[in-house]
């Protein structure tokens, strides 16, 4: 009952945000719409008892990434309405057609088919086990997958250092 209400509210929020991203003339409103979508998806994660994923979604995407987006939009000064001409002719038509086919396929599968790729959850959810999601994720991450975890950390550090180096290089040439 509570889950259904939460799902409907969050799903409506996510869709409204997504529509705003596409329709808003002002990029700031698009960014705030995207923020709304990300936050609503976080609520959907909470409904699925994935608390840690929801927290990470809000901290990383809604918090850090979107602040960066807003800053870039504001500082570059794109706070005017965008021009309506398109550089790639008929791109919306193509994207719309592809998206329409995918949505039709998904709807068809959902209505008619037994979708075997993603098996549905079987049996009741063990509240106690899933409620400790931090521990449940941390344990395999720092034991079985510690090498992948460390490699990702290294990769991100290299990316950050690389960005700094590129920025410094350009400034020197000027």
């Amino acid at each position: 009952m509570v889950e259904t209400i939460l799902f409907v509210l969050a799903a409506a929020g996510a869709l409204a945000g997504a529509v705003t991203v596409v329709l808003a003339r002002n990029p700031i409103y698009s960014a705030v719409g995207l923020l709304g979508t990300l936050f609503s998806v976080a609520v959907l994660y909470v409904v699925q008892l994935a608390h840690l994923v929801a927290a990470v979604q809000v901290i990383v995407y809604a918090g850090a990434v979107m602040t960066l987006f807003l800053f870039v939009i504001m500082l570059i000064g794109v706070d005017k309405e965008e021009k309506r001409e398109e550089n790639l002719p008929r791109q919306r038509l193509w994207v719309g057609a592809v998206a329409g086919v995918i949505i039709l396929f998904a709807a068809g599968v959902a209505v008619f088919g037994d979708f075997a790729w993603v098996p549905a959850a079987t049996g009741p959810v063990d509240q106690e086990a899933t409620n400790g999601t931090v521990q449940a994720i941390a344990e395999p991450l720092f034991t079985d997958w510690v090498l992948a975890f460390e490699a990702t950390a290294l990769l991100l550090t290299i990316a950050a250092a690389g960005a700094v180096v590129l920025a410094m290089f350009r400034r020197k040439r000027n």
Binding site: V32, V58, V134
Partner: protein
């Protein structure tokens, strides 16, 4: 979920919300009164005894004031921003336990909005959302001064959030050694600070018998960094460039009436909730002597809440004391303190604290 459980959840949230509004009412008055004492003034004394109704009077005044909307504002975001400031401020306090759980009619009632497994991450998430109010308020005002003020305030909040998070990590790692595995739940962190250090270190029992088992003592550096960071996070003096009297460039320059009051409310709610979080992480939350058995059960049931409020108000007083004592920083000094002192300091403390914890747990690295 049965009906009693449902009503308990509703009651918990409403009670937490009401507590927050009540303490904010008192905090504004307390700040003005304490500040007045420190500056040898009288402070508010007309409205009610000792001027205690001053906040109510101010609130009513702001409520009935005309809310001027400048012509060049971006109206949607302009109206939305005050709400974006208030909502995260209230949500942050929802995960802080403000009393010992008690049992009524077979149902356990935790005095806490929600006991989340990810409590600390929730706090970080909400405080990162609070930044949007500042950005959007500054941008949507349609004037270059609020825009500059908003950009500055955001830079400040993001810089000090890093130091705050790192100090939190040190506490979480230490707290993990005090019980069965690590935890991010605030109620669990509080329970791990029960008792005294004398119980843990028997060798020094006579000395440490009266020293409570707070994280403050082993994590004193983290506390100093955390407290400095939360003073900056809440835009309080000496980090209050965002709203200082001589600075024209505050992000809420173009707001008036109730919309301005909402930014104001958010700031005072944040002061209290951040103090409450510091009290929970470092000062043992609601832990304290309850004199079980020698006093009526109702008294020992209420005492934890009293301890919690006492510790939180100690920190709120520290906020006000700092404001009365320290001169305001310049903007470049503010950034230097954040990036060149606090963040490296927090990193160094984290490494040191980790090294000590691993040494105590695993011995020297060359031992097998």
């Amino acid at each position: 979920m049965s009906w009693p459980e449902f009503w308990i959840v509703v009651l918990r949230v409403v009670a937490t919300f009401a507590l927050l509004l009540l303490v904010t009412l008192i905090n504004v008055w307390a700040e003005r009164k304490i500040l007045a004492d420190m500056q040898n003034r009288l402070g508010p004394r007309r409205a009610g005894p000792w001027g205690i109704l001053q906040t109510v009077a101010d609130g009513l005044k702001l409520f009935f004031k005309e809310a001027v909307i400048p012509r060049r504002v971006e109206i949607g975001m302009y109206l939305l921003a005050p709400f974006l400031a208030v909502v995260p401020a209230f949500l942050i306090f929802m995960v802080v336990p403000w009393g010992r759980p008690f049992t009524i009619g077979g149902n356990e009632v935790a005095l806490q909005g929600a006991d989340l497994n990810i409590g600390l991450l929730f706090i970080l998430a909400m405080s990162s959302l609070a930044v949007y109010a500042v950005v959007l308020a500054g941008w949507s005002s349609g004037s270059k001064y609020p825009l500059l003020g908003g950009v500055r305030a955001t830079a400040q909040a993001i810089s000090y959030e890093a130091a705050m998070g790192l100090a939190m990590v040190a506490v979480v790692m230490f707290s993990a050694t005090q019980g069965d595995g690590g935890t991010l739940s605030l109620s669990e962190i509080v329970e791990r600070q029960a008792g005294t250090w004398g119980d843990i270190i028997p060798a020094l029992e006579p000395v440490l018998r009266f020293v409570p088992r707070w994280n403050l003592f082993p994590q004193i550096v983290a506390f100093v960094i955390f407290f400095t960071a939360i003073v900056a996070e809440t835009n309080r003096a000496p980090f209050d460039l965002v709203e200082a009297e001589q600075e024209i460039v505050g992000f809420h320059t173009e707001y008036s009436g109730m919309r301005f009051a909402m930014f104001f409310l958010a700031e005072y709610v944040n002061i209290f909730s951040m103090s409450a979080i510091a009290a929970t992480l470092f000062l043992g939350g609601w832990n304290g002597p309850t004199f079980e058995g020698s006093v009526p059960a109702i008294v020992s049931g209420i005492l934890p809440t009293v301890w919690f409020l006492a510790k939180t108000y100690l920190l709120v007083f520290l906020f006000i004391w700092v404001r009365a004592t320290l001169p305001r920083l310049r903007y470049d000094q503010l950034m230097q303190l954040g990036w060149k002192r606090l963040i490296p300091g927090a990193l160094a403390w984290l490494v040191l604290s980790t090294a000590v914890i691993s040494f105590r747990q695993f011995g020297p690295p060359w031992s097998s």
